[in-house]
């Protein structure tokens, strides 16, 4: 019992300390909206299949609730295929914060589920970033004939830094 106790204490403390350290660096980044300009490069827009590439360039307003990304910019690009009313898309966004540090992540959309965003890597204060989340389109203009439009989206989720 006396031999087990220190081990138990050490184990429990060690686990708790590790868990606390992990939790302490996990950040909820909800309260973030990015707005900007989107351009579509259409490959096919028919009754059977619609397939296109798109690019987006946007900025986070300075009053964003998530202070870590106020004035950050996002450059995104991806591929989308729509078939029989079902949407499949894969894209990535490179974010640059106000001090020039960056992180990149990937979003995967499959039918009937929220899109899943996964952090891939980062630089500066974002080095070692991980975590995931989702997003919602929160505003969208009418698309123009040349395939451009303006839109806002709001990512939500949690990120972890080492």
């Amino acid at each position: 019992m006396t031999k087990l106790a220190p081990l138990a204490v050490a184990t429990l403390f060690g686990v708790s300390a590790t868990a606390f350290a992990v939790q302490a660096t996990e950040t909820d980044y909800s309260g973030l909206t990015v707005c900007g300009h989107s351009k579509t490069t259409m490959l096919s827009s028919g009754p059977d299949v619609t397939a296109f590439l798109w690019e987006f360039n946007g900025i986070v307003p300075s009053e964003a609730a998530f202070k870590g990304l106020q004035n950050a910019t996002a450059r995104c690009m991806g591929y989308e295929r729509d078939m029989q009313g079902k949407r499949f898309a894969t894209s990535a966004c490179l974010w640059t914060d106000a001090s020039g540090d960056t992180f990149i992540g990937e979003d995967v959309d499959v039918p009937d589920k929220p899109g899943v965003w996964t952090f891939l890597s980062g630089t500066g204060k974002w080095k070692g970033i991980s975590g995931s989340g989702t997003y919602a389109i929160t505003a969208a203009s009418k698309p123009t004939a040349d395939g451009t439009m303006e839109l806002c989206f709001s990512p939500t989720g949690k990120l972890t830094l080492p």
């Binding site: 397939a51 690019e55 690009m77 891939l120 890597s121």
Partner: protein, 165 residues
């Protein structure tokens, strides 16, 4: 006896249907070459991400007559992390008569690159099936003048099977 005759007729019809289905399956192979325009999002040792658009034509010595002089226009999203490439995209093919078909390409680590037919027009309407593909030649990249990407030249070898209704 009548029952046996009926059974025999049914079996013959089933066999005929199976033969008809097999007859519509066609093996294809060949090579297409052209140029690719890449738009880079990020290129570093942690993650390289870009999208590309390419325009190609089936090479004359491919030997697959239905696609002689056929061309394609492809788009794709591409990511390399930890030395492993992942890609997803589509190619729209137009044959010498102007009929078209579209399919999806995918690339994932540790497996062959996959092509899946999605839809077609004209003689390719209702096309299904798929195959594999691989890059067999690549030119040196060059600046495209825009400062935002680069142009490269490549050839893709592909083979597989398709079925028409």
């Amino acid at each position: 006896m009548n029952t046996l005759t009926s059974f025999g007729l049914a079996a013959f019809m089933a066999a005929s249907a199976a033969f008809a289905a097999q007859a519509a399956e066609t093996a294809y192979s060949g090579t297409f070459c052209g140029h690719t325009k890449t738009t880079m999002l990020q290129a570093n040792s942690d993650a390289t991400v870009f999208q590309f658009e390419s325009w190609n034509i089936q090479t004359p010595d491919s030997g697959f007559k239905p696609w002689e002089n056929a061309s394609n226009h492809c788009i794709a999203y591409y990511r390399i992390t930890q030395g492993k490439a992942t890609a997803i995209g589509s190619c729209l093919w137009t044959d010498s008569d102007g009929d078209t078909f579209i399919g999806e390409l995918s690339q994932a680590p540790d497996r062959a690159n996959v092509w899946t037919f999605l839809a077609g027009t004209g003689k390719w309407k209702g096309i299904t099936g798929g195959g594999t593909w691989q890059r067999v030649a690549a030119g040196k990249n060059g600046a495209d003048g825009s400062g935002a990407g680069c142009i490269s030249h490549s050839c893709i070898s592909h083979s597989g099977k398709y079925t028409l209704p």
